[in-house]
Every structure is written in C-alpha cells, then in structure tokens.
C-alpha cells in the first residue's frame, strides 16, 4: 500500500534543529535503502505559494503568504508499506525524533493511504475540510 505523509505545524516553521536535521537525514537514508520511502520533499514557506480558489462560481488567485493559515505544511513523503499498522509505526518513529531532538515543537504528521485507481472509490469531498480529492 502506498501512503502519503504530510507534516504540518501550527507554529511558524523555523528550520529543524541541527540534531533533528541529522536524525531525519539518517532515517530518510535508512528508509530509502530499505525500499520503503519512494519519494519525499520539504516545502518552502507560504510566501512562495499561491492558492487558486473557486468561490461562487468564480476563479480567484491568492498569492501567499496566507494570513489566515493556521497550519503550515512543511514537507511530505511517499512510502510503500504493508498496511496501516506499519504506516503508523513509521509515523510514530518519525515524530519521536522531533520529540527527542527538537523539544517544544508542536506539529502533526498526517498519513493517508493512496486510492487504487479503478478499485477504491476515493472520497469525493471530505465533509470536514471541504477538500475535494481527485483520485
């Protein structure tokens, strides 16, 4: 199963502490070598992004940074794993590194399974966030 990991934080993103950066580098290398992590990347601050929205049938483009943003997406990774239990174990190990190496940091690592085209019916609209998923 393929999983997307998205790391978000409600605090302004300072870069990771050197100890955390090193620990994450180690775990990334390990996971690439173990054939589990197949893609990953960090994301630049909100000022480098934009949003294209549809409101009342009109397209509008909003340049970042977004003042109302409560959570900043800091990075993502794509893993190939057996099941959700393994995906959870991986997320916990990753977040434990943050706990150990950057005390005081708050954040979330969200994981989502990829839909299988033609097999799973991807959620059309997530009721809570109102985000449409094109899968």
């Amino acid at each position: 199963m393929r999983f997307m990991y998205i790391v978000t934080s409600s605090k302004p993103m300072a870069g990771p502490s050197p100890a955390l950066a090193e620990a994450m580098q180690r775990i990334s290398e390990r996971e690439i070598k173990a054939g589990r992590m197949i893609d990953n990347g960090g994301l630049m601050p909100l000022s480098t992004g934009a949003r294209v929205r549809i409101i009342d049938g009109e397209l509008s483009v909003i340049d970042g940074p977004f003042i109302e943003a409560k959570e900043v997406v800091g990075g993502y990774a794509i893993f190939e794993l057996h099941d959700k239990a393994e995906a959870l174990a991986m997320a916990k190990e990753f977040m434990q590194l943050h706990l150990d190496h950057m005390p005081g940091w708050d954040g979330t690592c969200e994981l989502r399974a990829f839909a299988t085209p033609g097999v799973d019916i991807a959620c059309e609209v997530d009721a809570k966030s109102g985000v449409a998923a094109h899968a």
Partner: protein, 424 residues
C-alpha cells in the same frame, strides 16, 4: 490499546527492523541461521512483554537490545571455546557494557552486513524455492504464514522449506562473506533471479484464482530497491528494478470488473501508475549510465518502457521493440524470445514479416506444446486474410492451452473464422 492493536503494532515494527536485527546479529555471531533464530526469540519476547508493559517509545531499539542480549549470551557461553572471534566478542561486550546507545544500535551502518545476508539467503546451493522463502523471511520480514498465504500453500510446507534451507546453510560450512570479482556477478545473478521469480509469481499468478497477487510483487519491488541501495554500481540491479516497476505500473489496468484479464493493447492507460513509471524510467536510465543497456533485465525493461511511454496503443514504437527483442535474442537464445520478436516484427513491418520469423522457430522442440506459438501464427495468418489456416492454428492453440480461460479465448477466435469465407 487492545491486545489486537498491540499484536498488530509488534508485527509492523517487526517487519521494519527485522532485517537489521538479523544483519547485526550475523555480524556478531558469524552465523546467519543462528542469528535468524535469536531474532525470532526477540519477537517472542516482545509478544510476551508488550501487552503488560505497553509498547515502548522506541520499539525498534527495544527489539534490537533484546536480540543483542540473546546474541551476547550465546557468545559468552561459547567463549570457553576460545573462538577466533574472541577479540571481536570482547570488544562488543565492552561496547555493550559501556554505552547501551539504542539509537546507535539501530543506526549502525549495516549495509555490508545486509548485502552478505542477501547473498547468504539467495545462495545457489539452495533451491530456487528455498531461496525465495528465505529471502521473504529474512529480508522482507514476512512470517511463515504470510509467506504460505502468498504462495497458497500450507504453513507447514513453508516452515519445512525454511528449516531445511537453514540446515543446508549451517551444514555447508560456507564462508560468511561478500563475494567479489567474478564470483560477485555470478552470485548477484542468483539474487536477481530470486527477486524476479518472486515478482513473477505475484504478477503472473501461476496458480490460484487471482490473476495478480500484489503482496509478492510489492515484496520483490522492495527487495529490488534494497539491492539498488546496497549495490548501486551494478547496472543489472537497476535494470531489474526498472523492469519490475514498469510492469507493476499496469497492475490496476490488467483486469476488468469481473477479474478477466485485459490485454496490454486494450488497457486504459489512464489507470497506469505514473509515479511508478517515472521511477522505472529513472532506474532504466541509471542502468544505461552504468553501461548496462544491453543487460538481460535492462533490455526487457527497455521493451516495457516502449509500452509505458506510448500515449496510445497505436503509437507504440514496434520497430524499436523488435530491435530490442533481437538484441535480447542474441544475449539469450530462447524460442520464447523469438516468438515475442515475431509479434513485434509483425506489428512493425507487417504480418508476413512476422510469419517469416515464426517459420524459423516453428520446429523448435521447446515450443512443441507451447500454445502461444499457434496462437500468434493464427493471428498473423488472419491479418493476411488466410482464414482457413488461421482457424486451424487457433484450434491447435485451443487444444494445447492449459488454462481454461485461454482455451475459451482460442476457441472463440477459431469459431469467429468459420463464418468468414476462406480465401485460402
């Protein structure tokens, strides 16, 4: 956490850390079968302890420490033998007593060790089946019953296979080392063969109801990526990874809602996995950079890449595919490859050209009962308007087909031609 949750967590962590456990213990003990046994003990210890003490913060390190303790016990007991690894043992004991650094235990660079483990599990003295079972167990961390489920055989079959394989390894007195020079490429070929066998077992579903058993494909792909990390300068490793990624990218387009197969040319290409195709093409590029474009796996990957990069079935570059098959045929003499070449030649330069290739292999003994030969012949004859001969060929193919679904398909094609006025 419920007991079932804890059990699931343990097995999830286990799959992730187990190859590192075996590799680390193998380094300490110089004995892979024994290392494998002691890591199993660590799993049992976790299954016993975690339901009452709870899942540790760093479960991987817990397993590593437990496994290392078992190994150290074994070493301590064996010390009176004044083993040749005495020095190493003493160092390790000291190291363990001074700094029980859990992180370091997990982050040790065990790359070489893991490679040795792969070479041991896939040693040519073992049968192919035994190699595949050992690799799934020791490198992918699957349990015996998971392997049994994947192969649709009873648990006992797999556990006996593993026990026998480990005994063979223990009795062989094999040096625990990484082969080098000429031996390396020979041994690597044995490893790649096992990985490809596991992949094909899943992809072609030789037995059973399911057309595809994705778990085996996933394991083979993962093992391929591990190998690419361990032996990044070996072009054929990248060639194999490319071949597997490119083939697996079509997994979701290969069957219809009823589970019936959809042939490559008829597949909905929007259902192909484009992330996987991109990765496959990158691996193929890597193989080429290492001067491995002409390798057995790289050539097959290049053929798969021709399909993967064709936007529509009609825009497939059949001339290039025919050339690649010709190269492959020069590397490995096989009538099956020639048969595939005939198909590609027929698509590239017309049915008569394909038929000419086919005529050269028509009498190959290896193909005497191979139903694809008359099936391809029938298809080419039909395109030439030689319907009567085509029907005979399809009838022969139906007669030779071993799979019920294919027999029906061939009978249908033969019947479809009985209405057509024969021109020959």
């Amino acid at each position: 956490m419920t007991a079932a949750d804890i059990d699931q967590t343990i097995h999830a962590v286990w799959r992730v850390v187990q190859p590192r456990l075996i590799a680390t213990l193998s380094r300490m003990l110089r004995d892979v079968p024994l290392a494998e046994e002691l890591t199993q003990d660590a799993l049992v210890a976790a299954l016993e302890a975690w339901p009452s003490i709870g899942v540790p913060d760093n479960p991987g390190a817990w397993l590593m420490t437990t496994a290392k303790r078992r190994a150290l016990d074994v070493l301590r007991r064996g010390r009176m033998l004044s083993d040749k690894h005495d020095m190493l043992t003493r160092d390790m004991l000291q190291e363990q007593e001074i700094v029980p650094d859990f992180d370091a235990a997990l982050d040790d660079d065990i790359g070489d060790e893991l490679l040795r483990l792969v070479f041991t599990a896939c040693h040519p003295i073992l049968s192919r089946e035994a190699r595949a079972a050992l690799a799934l167990r020791m490198i992918c961390g699957l349990t015996t019953s998971e392997i049994a489920r994947a192969y649709l055989v009873p648990d006992t079959t797999i556990s006996q296979r593993i026990v026998r394989a480990k005994r063979t390894l223990s009795n062989s007195g094999l040096a625990y080392e990484t082969p080098s020079g000429e031996a390396l490429s020979e041994r690597l070929a044995s490893v790649l063969e096992v990985v490809y066998l596991i992949f094909n077992e899943g992809y072609l579903a030789a037995r059973g109801e399911e057309w595809l058993r994705p778990q085996l494909c996933d394991e083979a792909l993962r093992m391929g990526r591990v190998l690419a990390g361990l032996a990044p300068d070996e072009p054929e490793v990248h060639g194999l990874v490319a071949l597997m990624d490119l083939n697996a990218s079509r997994a979701h387009a290969r069957t219809d809602a009823n589970g019936d197969p959809i042939l490559l040319m008829d597949q909905n290409r929007a259902l192909w996995d484009w992330l996987q195709i991109r990765r496959g093409l990158l691996s193929l590029e890597r193989a080429r950079e290492l001067d491995g474009a002409g390798g057995f796996y790289a050539l097959q990957a290049a053929i798969a890449a021709c399909h993967a990069t064709a936007e529509t079935a009609a825009s497939t570059d059949w001339q290039r595919i025919a050339q690649l098959y010709a190269e492959l045929a020069r590397l490995v003499r096989s009538p099956v490859i020639e048969l595939n070449r005939a198909v590609a030649v027929g698509m590239a330069w017309g049915p008569q050209a394909g038929l000419d290739v086919l005529d050269e292999i028509a009498s190959a003994p290896a193909l005497a009962s191979y139903h694809h030969l008359p099936a391809v012949r029938g298809d080419l004859l039909q395109k030439l308007g030689r319907f009567k001969e085509a029907r005979q060929a399809f009838e022969t193919a139906a007669h030779l087909a071993t799979n019920a679904r294919e027999r029906v398909l061939m009978e249908r094609r033969a019947a479809g031609l009985s209405d057509v006025g024969g021109s020959a």
